[in-house]
């Protein structure tokens, strides 16, 4: 099992946001997480990636069988966890090229590999740029600086393509994308899919799941996974709305 989350409780400033999450992701799988605004989807993603400021009060996060709670975020990344940010951050003056090379080389160093030769790096950039149909103009600029909303999201997928992570968590990568961009991003994700890696997509729109077909859909509500099912669940959810979920949970 690639990722196993057991009874995870997380608080921010003493306020409980995640209230007993259970989730299992195997290699080769695609999972979708849906749920209304403010239910803790990004919180879950951030906690898996190791962001500071969250208190895990109960439960475990196992990655490749290892408890990663004490692992610094960069080590989690080096171990193959990738987070596509809901709000990608701008880093003025740092070129995408420099950023990616630094990133790639630090990950390689962790695995005892030499820095990537310049030629190989450039070839890789060219290949991945094509995959997500991102222009050289963007990769020559500073990290996300002045990128449009959609460009930022594409740039996240481009980075994912460059780093080839084992577990990619994409936090609303589809929001703000036009139809073409959505197709491109989804295509990118599909092409990167292997039997050795897994993807968790967080989304509000069933539409994305027409392109990226999930093996499992989970509905997160008030800090808990209240429903899990196959891809049909997304359709049902779209049809009935979150009120339906509310009633379902109240019934229990």
């Amino acid at each position: 099992m690639l990722l196993q989350i057991k009874n995870l409780h997380v608080s921010i400033n003493g306020k409980e946001i995640l209230r007993g999450i259970n989730l299992e992701v195997n290699k080769g799988e695609v999972h979708a997480i849906m749920g209304p605004n403010g239910t803790g989807k990004s919180t879950l993603a951030n906690v898996i990636a190791g962001k500071e400021g969250y208190e895990i009060t109960q439960g475990e996060i196992l990655y490749n069988g290892k408890d990663i709670q004490k692992m610094p975020p960069e080590v989690r990344a080096q171990e193959g966890i990738f987070l596509g940010f809901q709000y990608p951050v701008e880093i003025p003056g740092v070129s995408m090229t420099n950023f990616m090379r630094t990133s790639l080389n630090e990950i390689r160093k962790y695995h005892g590999q030499e820095p990537i030769p310049a030629k190989e790096f450039l070839a890789r950039m060219a290949e991945k740029k094509e995959l997500v149909e991102i222009t050289a103009k963007l990769t020559n600029r500073s990290v996300n600086e002045g990128f449009s909303g959609g460009e930022k999201k594409k740039n996240e997928i481009y980075q994912m393509a460059m780093l080839e992570p084992q577990l990619a968590i994409l936090d609303e990568t589809d929001s703000g994308l036009d139809i073409d961009a959505l197709r491109i991003v989804a295509n990118g994700v599909n092409k990167l899919k292997t039997s050795e890696n897994a993807t968790v997509v967080i989304t509000h729109y069933q539409r994305l799941l027409d392109y990226i077909v999930p093996d499992f859909v989970h509905v997160l509500f008030e800090g808990k996974v209240v429903l899990s099912g196959g891809k049909e669940l997304a359709l049902e959810l779209e049809e009935k709305g979150y009120d339906w979920i509310k009633k379902e949970t109240e019934k229990r």
Binding site: G50, P72, A77, F85, G93, Y110, Q159
Partner: protein, 482 residues
């Protein structure tokens, strides 16, 4: 020695202060203390002409009447000017005819500094004049430069070989009584570099000086004079390091630049004197006066500085824009960490018509350090239709450090425009996390972000320097977060 070697390697591989080694070179030093005899001793050691001794003595007498300035935003422990050795020269075995004859220990030092003269000679297109303690040791490439009529040599050699030029221009930009430290330098300066670019010549290579303080208890007072004749161009680089010592060491240099009509001088500095340890013990006191005169019309002087070292930095590279349509530029990155203090900036004095100046200053403070920008932009009555643009940005790492901006503006004519922008920012948690999520450690992330922040200035450096400067920025901020 083996033990020393080991320690040395350790020091060099740990990044705290990579240049903190001492080289065992026999030195010839003046007795401690400063009086007229010291000044005479230095002048005699250097076989100087009478006029230069007089020049020194005059400055010394002025200095005695002056007081150390205290207007800067700096806390300076009292300096005992009588407890300093004002002259230290590597003991000469005999006159040196070629590089092979230079003291092997000295060559070794240069190798450790990464500026092996041999390497430099073979691989790069940079002419180097290395000043260790007080004496200029060797100037490479002199012959190549001579073909173009460029004079590039130690200051002492210039006094010997081109006394008329030295006499004409010495003190033109920085008068002996300009300020306390300038007067001190004028009295006791020991060596430095001299550079003369004749009319219409573009220097075919970057010229470079490397300064290093080696001997204990010594002050270093070097003097640089650059003269660019009509229509000439030169790019000049200055680098500096010093060994790690518990006591503070004084460095008070003067750089003067004269640019004639249509001439352009680019002066780049990477200042990496020993900054003191984590608790603020030791380190270099760096009091430097740098000034250029854009004498001719359409002349241009650019100062670019990356200041990462020294316990205290007091430095305001300035331009006097005397020629019409002349241009002055100042690009600065100043990093302070631990207990370092920097009070640095620029003065742009607009005298000519249609003169233009730009000031871009990036201050980065971490630890318990204090980093101030201090600048003066002055438009005189005659300087009609002139412009200045100043941008002063401060970046804070942590909440124990300070950043300050002291811009002074004097505008005496209505047709000129002075623009000033200032920002203060912090590295955000989100930026750090974003980098970390891409596998980049917090420390590297800070280096990356800071380099991005300073990019506008780093881009102005010659290639050879830019790479070193980038590394320096990251290294000097190590341990500042987390």
């Amino acid at each position: 020695m083996a033990q020393d070697e080991k320690r040395l390697i350790e020091e060099v591989t740990q990044s705290e202060y990579k240049y903190g080694f001492v080289t065992d070179i026999e030195t010839e030093t003046a007795p401690k203390g400063l009086n007229e005899d010291t000044v005479r001793y230095i002048s005699t050691q250097k076989n100087e002409p009478e006029w230069l001794l007089e020049h020194r003595l005059k400055a010394f007498r002025k200095w005695k009447e002056m007081e150390q300035p205290n207007w800067a935003h700096l806390k300076i422990a009292e300096i005992d000017f009588q407890d300093i050795i004002y002259y230290a020269a590597p003991k000469k075995k005999k006159e040196l005819a070629s590089l092979d004859e230079v003291d092997p220990e000295l060559i070794d030092t240069f190798n450790k500094l990464g500026i092996s003269l041999e390497e430099q000679k073979r691989l790069s297109n940079v002419a180097v004049d290395a000043v260790i303690d007080s004496v200029s040791v060797k100037t490479t490439f002199t012959d190549t430069l001579a073909k173009h009529g460029i004079l590039f040599c130690s200051f002492s050699d210039a006094v010997k070989n081109y006394p008329d030029l030295v006499k004409k221009y010495l003190g033109m930009a920085v008068s002996p009584s300009d300020n306390f430290f300038a007067a001190l330098n004028t009295a006791v300066f020991s060596d430095g570099s001299f550079c003369y670019i004749p009319k219409g010549v573009r220097s075919p290579m970057e010229l470079s000086t490397y300064f290093r303080i080696n001997a204990a208890n010594t002050g270093q007072f070097e003097r640089t004079l650059i003269i660019a004749e009509e229509g000439s161009y030169v790019s000049y680089m200055e680098g500096c390091t010093a060994p790690q010592r518990d006591e503070n060491q004084l460095h008070a240099a003067i750089v003067e630049i004269i640019a004639m009509k249509d001439a352009e001088v680019k002066y780049s500095t990477v200042q990496n004197w020993y900054p003191g340890n984590k608790e603020g013990k030791g380190g270099i006191y760096n009091f430097v006066t740098k000034r250029g005169i854009c004498k001719g019309d359409h002349s241009k002087i650019s100062w670019t500085q990356v200041e990462t070292g020294s316990a205290i930095t007091w430095k305001y590279p300035s331009c006097i824009l005397s020629g019409d349509n002349s241009v002055g530029e100042f690009y600065s990155v100043a990093v302070t960490n631990n207990y370092q203090q920097a009070d640095t900036g620029s003065k742009m004095i607009h005298l000519g018509k249609n003169t233009k100046s730009t000031i871009i200053s990036k201050g980065i403070s971490a630890g318990h350090s204090n980093n101030s920008y201090r600048g003066l932009v002055k438009m005189t009555k005659r300087a009609t239709n002139s412009r200045n643009y100043s941008q002063c940005d401060s970046l804070l790492l942590g909440d124990q450090c300070g950043a300050h901006t002291f811009p002074y503006i004097e505008g005496a004519n209505k047709s000129s425009i002075i623009e000033h922008e200032a920002t203060t920012s912090k590295i955000s948690e989100d930026q750090l996390f974003y980098c970390q999520q891409r596998g980049i450690s917090q420390e590297s992330a800070v280096g990356l972000i800071v380099n991005g922040y300073a990019k506008e200035v780093l881009n102005k450096l010659p290639m050879e320097f830019a790479v070193e400067a980038q590394k320096l920025l990251s290294i000097s901020l190590e341990g500042s977060v987390g």
